[in-house]
Symmetry: C2
Subunit: 350 residues, 2 copies
């Protein structure tokens, strides 16, 4: 089946309609849809429409509570804690980020944690909300255990992820959005299909031994943390700053998106905002950001490298292109959306 390109608005409308059919209030449905399409627009397809099917399954099975209302359960000037009541991660995390921004407006800096939540999609979606307020944004989440501590051979930590978004001047905002694993499973599956070896730093076999064989990795193996024990430390600290600190799930208490779809996944998040104006006029900060971005761009390149990027730049350019041309959908995804449309009595978006 051929690839199709479909405007992101139409796809977002379709996602929102799916969620509403499953009991999600209209505003929340649109918010979650916009988070999924945000990922597709930026080329982060792993966090986009490809997740729609499992989201609908968890909504049906009860793992996502469709109409949960997140609530602030404790608060201080620069701190808050939100109970997401097992609802959609996007709804609670958006509330957390808004609250962090409002508090940072007053005190200069604020942190809001979220417990009893679920998969929140692309992390940059939240961190980037700080930018229009002249703030630096931070967002992080834990996830079901798929990595081992260094030396181990069982999942004890998620491929926990975080994003930091920083306003710039004439350049797009600088946005670092990264998971703490060496690589995404997708790259290992591709190597498997193409019968290629993988670098020895990507995965462990089922005994916990580093392997360059993608088949050994895929057979009950694990992803390695990025850069060895440093990535293990980063992943553990993110679990502490989200799950342990919020009073929510951590380590083996968190479930992955695809496990036990009827049960809450016990995911936790943390959002933070830092008011640039507390340090210097925002205009001056933007100039300084442009200067450091230019110092990266102008670095002499290694042979074969045509251009040096800063974090978020490739995603920004993809977003501009896909906003104009639409989101490319492969045959499999088209089929999945058609099936969902049929099940829910909706028209497919193409």
């Amino acid at each position: 089946m051929n690839q199709k390109k479909v405007p992101s608005d139409k796809l977002a409308e379709f996602c929102a309609a799916c969620f509403q059919k499953l009991g999600v209030p209209a505003g929340d449905a649109r918010l979650v849809a916009s988070n999924l399409l945000f990922a597709n627009l930026r080329g982060v397809d792993s966090h986009g429409l490809i997740r729609l099917k499992i989201y609908t399954e968890r909504l049906r099975a009860g793992g996502f509570k469709a109409d949960a209302r997140p609530q602030v359960i404790s608060e201080q000037d620069s701190i808050a804690l939100i109970d997401a009541a097992h609802g959609l991660g996007q709804v609670a995390a958006t509330m957390a980020m808004k609250l962090a921004i409002a508090k940072a407006e007053k005190t200069g800096m604020a942190v809001v944690t979220v417990k009893n939540s679920n998969h929140f999609g692309a992390s940059a979606f939240y961190a980037m909300q700080a930018i229009e307020h002249g703030m630096i944004g931070f967002s992080a989440t834990n996830a079901g255990p798929t990595m081992a501590p260094t030396g181990g051979r069982e999942g004890r930590l998620g491929n926990n992820a975080f994003a930091i978004a920083v306003p710039a001047g004439r350049y797009p905002p600088l946005v670092l959005d990264m998971a703490t694993g060496a690589v995404a499973w997708g790259k290992i599956f591709v190597a498997q299909q193409e019968k290629r070896k993988i670098p020895g730093t990507w995965a462990l076999d089922k005994q916990g031994v580093p392997t360059d064989d993608p088949n050994a990795a895929a057979n009950k193996g694990l992803i390695q943390p990025l850069g060895g024990y440093k990535g293990y430390g980063l992943s553990l600290l993110l679990d502490i700053l989200t799950g342990v600190l919020s009073g929510g799930g951590f380590s083996t208490h968190v479930r992955t998106l695809y496990q036990q779809v009827a049960s809450p996944a016990e995911v936790a998040h943390t959002c933070a905002a830092l008011r640039v104006e507390a340090f210097m006029p925002v205009a001056q900060f933007r100039e300084r950001m442009d200067a450091i971005i230019e110092l990266m761009h102008s670095c002499p390149a290694a042979p074969g490298v045509s251009r040096i990027f800063v974090p978020g730049e490739i995603e920004h350019e993809t977003e501009q292109r896909r906003s104009a041309e639409g989101i490319p959908l492969n045959g499999e995804l088209q089929e999945e959306l058609r099936m969902l449309a049929g099940e829910l009595g909706l028209k497919p978006p193409f």
Copy 2:
């Protein structure tokens, strides 16, 4: 010359005496000495006494202003900015951490940045000050440019480092203290001496091409960021959160400890503190920390692995051992300390 073990108190006294001879006020001299010995006690010898000689050189040459007084130059409830006036990094960073703790006591969370500073030694020294206050501590610094952005072949970013310290219950505090490079230069020099190849993820040759030859790395090559572009992103973000945000030096404006010893190095730091009690009773948090630490310890191990550690655990055990047995000094370091003692008219500490 034989290895000697010397009590850390005696070595700290000696360092402080050296600094005082060079015009550093007594309290500051003791503080900087305690920071160097903190590193040696914890087995992080790269940040310990080995730096004493260059510190004395910079104090003499004026790159470190011996009697500079750091000052708070702007402030909000959860924010402050300190001008270190080109003094010792340890003095300004300690002031920053204290201020972050005092502010977090009131608002729940605070961030203090420092500009016009210098090398601050081991980062964990600051982050760990938060622990006795029932807080999570964070400290970060930038450094002279020794890494390239991904695809580049010239130094544009320091091997920027940060530490996070978290109180636990019956276990020692969890302390992650890491630089953003794949590896320290020391490991490459050892491979060079032993005529061994290095992993292709450690270094670049002078063209910016990854190399497994330690000689090619040492000949005007660069350290690679940890985990490739993710480590580049981390290093860049640390430079933004320290240098760009504080109004201090960043990227190529920062000098390494060994360059131009008569000039200020334009280093910047950021310290932060987060009050655990704002989220839950500290006792409960400590129990939750013990639980996540035990989930790491109890992970089934890979073949050949006898024990799984959490960040900071090896350093804690080294500290206990070295507190009892003394700090091991090799012949070269003994000679260096003797020379310094001679130059400054002091008795060597052994």
